[in-house]
Amino acid sequence: MAEPVKSFSHRLQAALLDALLAAYVAFALFCLTLGFKTVDSVGGLTLRSRPVLLGAMVGAVFVGRLLLNWFVWQTDRPLTEPFAKLFTREPFARRDVFVLGAVALLSMLAAAVPSPAARLIAGGMLAFLTVGAVRRAILHFFPNLPYARIFTIAGIAFAVLFPITAYLLDKAFHLRLPLRYLLDLSIVVLTYAMLGSGLNIVVGLAGLLDLGYVAFYAVGAYSFAILAMDFGWSFWMCLPLAGVLAALWGCTVGLPVLRLRGDYLAIVTLAFAEIVRIVLLNWTNVTNGPNGISGIPRPTFFGLPFGASGETFSTFFGLRYDPLHAIIFLYYVIFLLVIVTNVVTLRLRRLPIGRAWEAMREDEIACRSLGINTTVTKLTAFATGAMFGGFAGAFFATRQGFISPESFTFIESATILAIVVLGGLGSQLGVALAAIVMIGGFEALRHTQGLKAIFGPDFDPALYRMLLFGIAMVAIMVWRPRGIISSRTPSIMLGRGAPATLAKERRT
């Protein structure tokens, strides 16, 4: 940012000039790509011009940039400062309180307006302010509580109790909760949390950038499907096997490529993932090609299937048949897998191998000079991450009952990586939070009616989902490069001024 300009006319001039430049750039960006739309017609492609859309876009850039310049960038007292202060421990000035109070009051007024758009914005604003205020108040009155631990325990307790409690309450009081939808969404979020935890070992702990994590997910899913269908083995037998096969694949890929560093490793893993996908697509007699494998058996409750007829879970326990039982069971299976992954990771971090991973992430050359075999260290990280990816794949296969190469594209790898990085590399709590925010948030977006009210009835949120996903990825990264939970400090580090204990353990 430029030095803040003091005088009023100078400020206005600078802000206008910058906004004009931005508008020019926006015009250059959008004049052809947005200003015209290619339309199929009889004699080939023709163009339809969209001057209003182009004008609106350029105008929005101009106005937005002008406002940002005036109120945030080219001023000594940015309007965003009170909001930022809400998330720090800095003392409030009188102006901060005034601004925050005014915003809260305006939001409350806006919430009374009978328009979904106004309500959405006002609700979001109020929620943001409340979270900030509550967080700040707690930090103010109890500054030394182990927040990460409390948060983790509360989160786990909620995750354990939520399905059963909600199910029983729903049954007892006929609440008609959209339980099926909520549970399905939670299962997807947990699957991504599982994948994120697995990738976190490779990227977050060992510092190896893997852009092809989806390959292990795919290997797990296909191994599970083939083992379960062609050999007829049960879920609990196939699950570890799928993990082992994925880990083997991790070793096979890892052994040659792990000599590479940084970005090269990233691109080679990406290439391998694409190779896996192309092979799955074309090796028709094993994978059934683009049609995928369907009819994958569902998991059973220790041999008791979930179904309406025969000896099933519900008849054994004398319950009335309810399709939700199977979903709640699946929820607990994936929840258990996530917990196992995280506990194993937590324990591994305290073993020599975990210490070696983190040391390697911090400095590979120093690590090698201390006698750590970096090849073995990298390979174990790769294989462990791959194994958890394989578990997640097996679960995915059994939950969907159908898999095809479509589910294992690069965008999956990118999503998982985004979850790991946005959560804060190496932070296990961060991964869980990021999975909830990214997957849950975007799923919620699909159903929000408020967006339709803002952008008109033709607005289809599903179409814009990936666009918003990309924008969020860039914005969060630029805003908080260290992720939502910024803990990249090693599990073990030298304590400051503590001669008695040279090394101080950090509980993470």
Binding site: T33, F36, K37, L45, L260, L270, I275, V474, M477
Partner: protein, 304 residues
């Protein structure tokens, strides 16, 4: 023999396009040390800009094809360059001093943004364009199998060679090229000796994007079908080409592009077309494992 020659011609044309995209990767990697993951999608945006510019000029009544193509080329280069500049400004510059993974993540984010922006703005269906440049020469005839060298293939090779020459001169003979080479060697020292590092990096992105736009126009004319997803695979292959030739080296990028184009074409011609991408990607792995510094690159020295 004739079949072989024909595939050679096709492979060189395809390889020239990869080479042009690869230059963008290699220059950026050389200077900033990051994989500009969105570059393949910049190329895709370039194809769309070229398509729309071409349709626009045609609908304005300009029927002289060579003049129209020159105009389209200029428009596509300028407008795509603005995209390249904007991507660098928004997604990479704020993270230049951040940890290494950060710009790669925003690059992936930018790639998703560009793909979905084009999908939203122009629709997901493939965009066909009737052949603009037709005709060609029969250069060799062997018992009924003729080897054809089409005009568009000649255009591709000539354009590529000409642009390579121009950019080679820019890099070796101008002040900008000197600044770029200085930044490549040591960014801090370059800044201390008066090189405007931010501007140099921006211009590198602009040059890369402009070349990607040329590649986009040639791709559009050669294949006649584009969609919003072509950038991904083209990007990976071009990156492979850049690595194969030795990252940071301009002739290396061109050489790598040619090799990748030839491998892909011959693999499709003599083995299976389904696995042509596997051939290109395996090549990447093999090259990186056995010649990590590429064919014409300098070996990277690890300093403590």
């Amino acid at each position: 023999m004739a079949y072989f020659l024909q595939q050679l011609v096709n492979g060189i044309a395809l390889g020239s396009i990869y080479g042009l995209i690869a230059i963008g990767y290699t220059m950026v990697y050389g200077i900033v040390g990051m994989i500009n993951f969105a570059h393949g999608d910049i190329f895709m945006v370039g194809t769309f800009i070229a398509l729309i510019a071409f349709l626009l000029i045609m609908s304005l009544g300009l029927t002289l094809v060579p003049l129209a193509l020159v105009l389209v080329l200029i428009m596509a280069m300028v407008l795509t360059a603005v995209w390249g500049w904007t991507v660098e400004r928004i997604a990479y510059r704020p993270l230049r001093e951040s940890f290494r993974l950060a710009p790669l993540i925003t690059a992936i984010g930018m790639s998703i943004i560009l793909q979905n922006f084009i999908q939203v703005a122009q629709g997901a269906r493939v965009k066909p364009l009737q052949p603009v440049i037709t005709g060609g020469y029969q250069i060799f005839d062997e018992g009924g199998f003729a080897v054809n060298l089409s005009n568009i293939q000649i255009l591709i090779v000539v354009t590529t060679v000409a642009l390579m020459g121009v950019f080679w001169l820019i890099i070796t003979r101008t002040a900008l090229g000197r600044a770029q080479r200085a930044c490549e060697q040591d960014r801090l020292m370059a800044a201390l000796s008066g090189v405007n590092v931010d501007r140099t990096i921006s211009l590198t992105f602009v040059m890369g994007a402009a070349l990607a736009a040329v590649a986009g126009l040639l791709y559009l004319l050669y294949y006649g079908v584009i969609d919003f997803f072509i950038g991904f695979v083209a990007g990976i292959k071009a990156f492979t080409a850049a690595v194969l030739g030795g990252i940071g080296s301009l002739p290396g990028a061109m050489l790598g592009g040619l090799i990748i184009g030839l491998i892909e074409t011959f693999w499709s011609a003599y083995f299976t077309i389904e696995y042509k991408d596997v051939a290109a990607f395996s090549m990447l792995a093999v090259v990186l494992i056995f010649f990590p510094s590429g064919l014409l690159g300098r070996p990277e020295v690890e300093k403590v």
